[in-house]
């Protein structure tokens, strides 16, 4: 059957199981938007293309499905760049479709032309320019395949306007042929055998879990591995939720703002089992002093992550589910050794327990002024276990990581790699679209919130009941903290001088706003916000110069933490 390019696109999306797309129309995608009117695909109109990508990203992180974005050429396309880079750094599967000027005009500096394929080459897993309608179906099929398989990531398809109106036979391929793309899923058995021996021999083992393990499948096997041998486990920011934080074996987060006990455990460990993590500089601190006594097993689907930043004693390339299952299954063949290993590591666990006891995650409470950590604790109490929490980037993000007890995969959506302020609100929007019945909360600061606050309009339009928490300190708090600690309190451009009336802002968009400044009002405000059927801003005027601790200053070793401000 003959169809136009734009109809073919929508039909392909439908066959890929896409129910919702996020986007913003414009001249070079106007045909696609016209065909959307008759399509079963649901479209969420954000108020900025960056937000459309973050929303699709939030949708993808919460569901594990591929998020889809449509944007126009030129500025529409360039506005997607930060969103794409954010998804790329955190390995989130997206397909971003950008309009492009008609093929005869490409390269002529036409109106709203930008070489988005060139611009996004280093921040996509792969990208395409559709030059011939005959290639369209194959490209879309490959784009979804590449986005969701192996180490997931964003794929961009640049789709010129003239090809959208050209007709061709619709024939969606069943399979892809990509001779250069064959991710390794199955972990090498000999490597697994070695890993089992190393794990059984370790006296001070620690499991270090990254975002790769933040899926229900991997998390289940991770749980088994940790529990059968009683191995303490720490997660990165991205790994949060892969293992319940309240679990006795959990060490919480490691790294720059990690817990004292996680950082001490990694420093003293004799075996580090890295699972779907990539040894980011915010995790390792000074690399020569990172886990100095440990042998390192690194399990990851992406071979480039292995030995990139740190030396590795045993690499295992493969899907975490597969590798962890193999390890757990092989371990089961050594019940005696497991028993012995559990006994021999008992003293290690009591050492860690002592660190937990002496240096818990804590803050100094106040009855006069709202402590930001107190708000997070109250949210944790009042939000259900399956609540999805998103954050922006900065102090509030770290406090959320420290004080919220995540217990399920895919419940903490945060920009870990790129560190994108303005991520949280649109990501919450996308997560709420995916799960209309679940509680979705964006924990934000007053600085970050203003980077995508226009998305309040989208929340109201689609009646998405996202609850927005603004921990307002009238500062760009994280930068201010660095200026306080390392730049003699010279607060250069970090004071947000204009007090914003966030209640009025919410109301201007047709949402509900609350603003409180007394600690005894916090709980009541959260309850009231949760009772409102639509989107709500809760502004908490918090202690202005509260710092995030512990803190490992940049370039220092993990055990050189600043413990209080």
């Amino acid at each position: 059957m003959k169809m136009t390019g734009s109809k073919i696109l929508l039909e392909c999306l439908r066959l890929e199981g896409v129910e919702t797309v996020f986007g913003f129309p414009g001249g070079t995608v106007i045909n696609i938007y016209d065909d959307l009117v008759d399509s079963p695909i649901h479209h969420i109109l954000t108020r900025h293309e960056q937000a459309a990508v973050h929303a699709a990203d939030g949708y993808a992180r919460a569901t594990g499905k591929v998020g889809v974005v449509i944007a126009t050429s030129g500025p529409g396309a360039t506005n997607t760049v930060t969103g794409i880079a954010t998804a790329y750094m955190d390995s989130v599967p997206l397909v971003v479709i950008t309009g492009q000027v008609p093929t005869p005009l490409i390269g002529n500096d036409a109106f709203q032309e930008a070489d988005i394929v060139g611009i996004t080459r280093p921040i996509t897993k792969h990208n395409y320019l559709v030059k011939d309608i005959q290639d369209l179906c194959r490209i879309i099929k490959e784009a979804f395949f590449i986005a969701r398989t192996g180490r997931p990531g964003p794929v961009l398809i640049d789709f010129p306007k003239d090809i959208q109106v050209t007709s061709a036979n619709f024939d969606y391929p069943e399979t892809v042929s990509l001779p250069g793309y064959k991710p390794t899923y199955s972990g090498n058995l000999r490597q697994v055998e070695k890993a089992v021996k190393m794990i059984l021999a370790a006296k001070h083992p620690v499991i270090y879990v990254g975002g790769g393990a933040n899926t229900p499948d991997a998390a289940r096997w991770l749980h088994q591995l940790a529990e059968t041998l009683e191995i303490p486990l720490t997660t990165t920011l991205m790994g949060m939720g892969a293992f319940p934080k309240k679990h006795p074996l959990s060490l919480g987060m490691l790294g720059m703002h990690g817990t004292y006990y996680a950082n001490m455990a990694v420093t003293e460990a004799d075996l580090l089992v890295a699972v779907g993590a990539r040894f980011d500089d915010r995790v390792t601190g000074s690399v020569p002093h990172f886990a100095p006594h440990a042998k390192i097993i690194h399990i990851d689907i992406d071979p480039t992550s292995i030995k990139k930043n740190v030396r590795v004693d045993l690499p295992i390339v493969g899907d975490l589910h597969d590798v962890l299952e193999k390890i757990v299954t092989q371990l089961a063949e050594f019940p005696e050794e497991m028993k012995r290993a559990r006994e021999e590591t008992a003293s290690w666990r009591s050492r860690i327990a002592a660190w937990k006891e002496s240096h818990p995650v804590r803050y100094t409470p106040s009855s006069l002024v709202i402590k930001p950590q107190f708000v997070i604790e109250k949210l944790r109490e009042l939000a259900p276990d399956d609540a999805i929490i998103t954050t922006e980037v900065g102090q509030h993000q770290m406090w959320t990581a420290q004080f919220f007890d995540f217990s399920r995969p895919r419940t903490f959506l945060t920009s870990g790699g790129l560190g994108t302020m303005g991520f949280g609100l649109p990501a919450a929007l996308g997560a709420q679209v995916a799960f209309p019945e679940r509680r979705v909360i964006d924990i934000s600061g007053d600085g970050s919130f203003q980077m995508n606050s226009q998305e309040l309009a989208t929340l109201v339009q689609f009646q998405l009941p996202v609850k927005i928490v603004i921990l307002n300190n009238n500062y760009l708090g994280m930068v201010r903290q660095w200026q306080q600690l390392f730049f003699q309190r010279r607060y250069s451009q970090t004071v947000l001088e204009v007090p914003i009336d966030f209640v009025k802002l919410a109301e201007a968009y047709g949402a509900v706003g609350f603003s409180v400044s007394r600690p005894d009002e916090v709980e009541e405000t959260i309850r009231r916000a949760f009772d409102v059927p639509g989107p709500v801003i809760m502004e908490f005027k918090v202690e202005r110069e509260e710092n995030v601790v512990p803190m490992v200053p940049a370039g220092k070793a993990l055990n050189e933490m600043v413990l209080s401000s």
Binding site: V117, G118, R121, P122, K125, H126, L129, K131, I146, L178, P179, G180, Y181, D302, P303, T304, I306, K307, K308
Partner: protein, 163 residues
């Protein structure tokens, strides 16, 4: 340490930019790069000369593999190989130096491919070392312009690089 790498890629739009962008984006060096289609016109073969320590080379290798359009990556360093590059050298040929230029060309089994009243263009093929050597010898005669292809490489013996 210097490494010579062959990369089989799908002969598609933008592949060269992906490879070049990978090297520049990650701070790897490219000393030379040559690329052309193989017997199968759907596949191109790149020969890249780069340098770095073992860790960097491992990353280059893996990162090249990670590109969707990359089919194979072979590091020929330390392997038995045939390595050749070509240079075209436009060299002054004054009355007093002309004979010497021809003599040098002859010794290197280079060819004079263009003759002008006071200038010869010489084509030389060989290992990078040989090209280096003739360039050094011709320098005193006055090299006006020089272009080199960068080396291409094949493994010795019957074994071939398959896609």
């Amino acid at each position: 340490m210097k490494h010579i790498i062959s990369v089989l890629v799908e002969n598609e739009f933008g592949v060269l930019a992906r490879v070049a962008g990978l090297f520049s984006g990650r701070g790897f060096n490219i000393e030379s790069l040559s690329v052309a289609p193989t017997l199968d016109p759907a596949i191109s073969r790149m020969t890249i000369v780069t340098h770095g320590d073992e860790r960097i080379l491992e990353q280059i290798n893996k990162q090249l593999h990670k590109l969707i359009n990359t089919i194979r990556v072979i590091d020929f360093t330390g392997q038995d190989r045939v390595e050749r590059e070509m240079a075209l050298i436009k060299v002054s040929a004054e009355e007093d130096t002309r004979a010497e230029v021809l003599r040098i060309a002859d010794i290197f089994r280079a060819k004079v491919v263009d003759v002008a009243p006071r200038c010869y263009t010489i084509e030389v093929t060989g290992t990078p070392g040989k090209v280096e050597a003739i360039v050094e010898l011709l320098k005193p005669m006055g090299i006006r312009e020089l272009v080199r292809t960068g080396p291409v490489v094949l493994g010795r013996g019957p074994k071939v690089v398959e896609k």
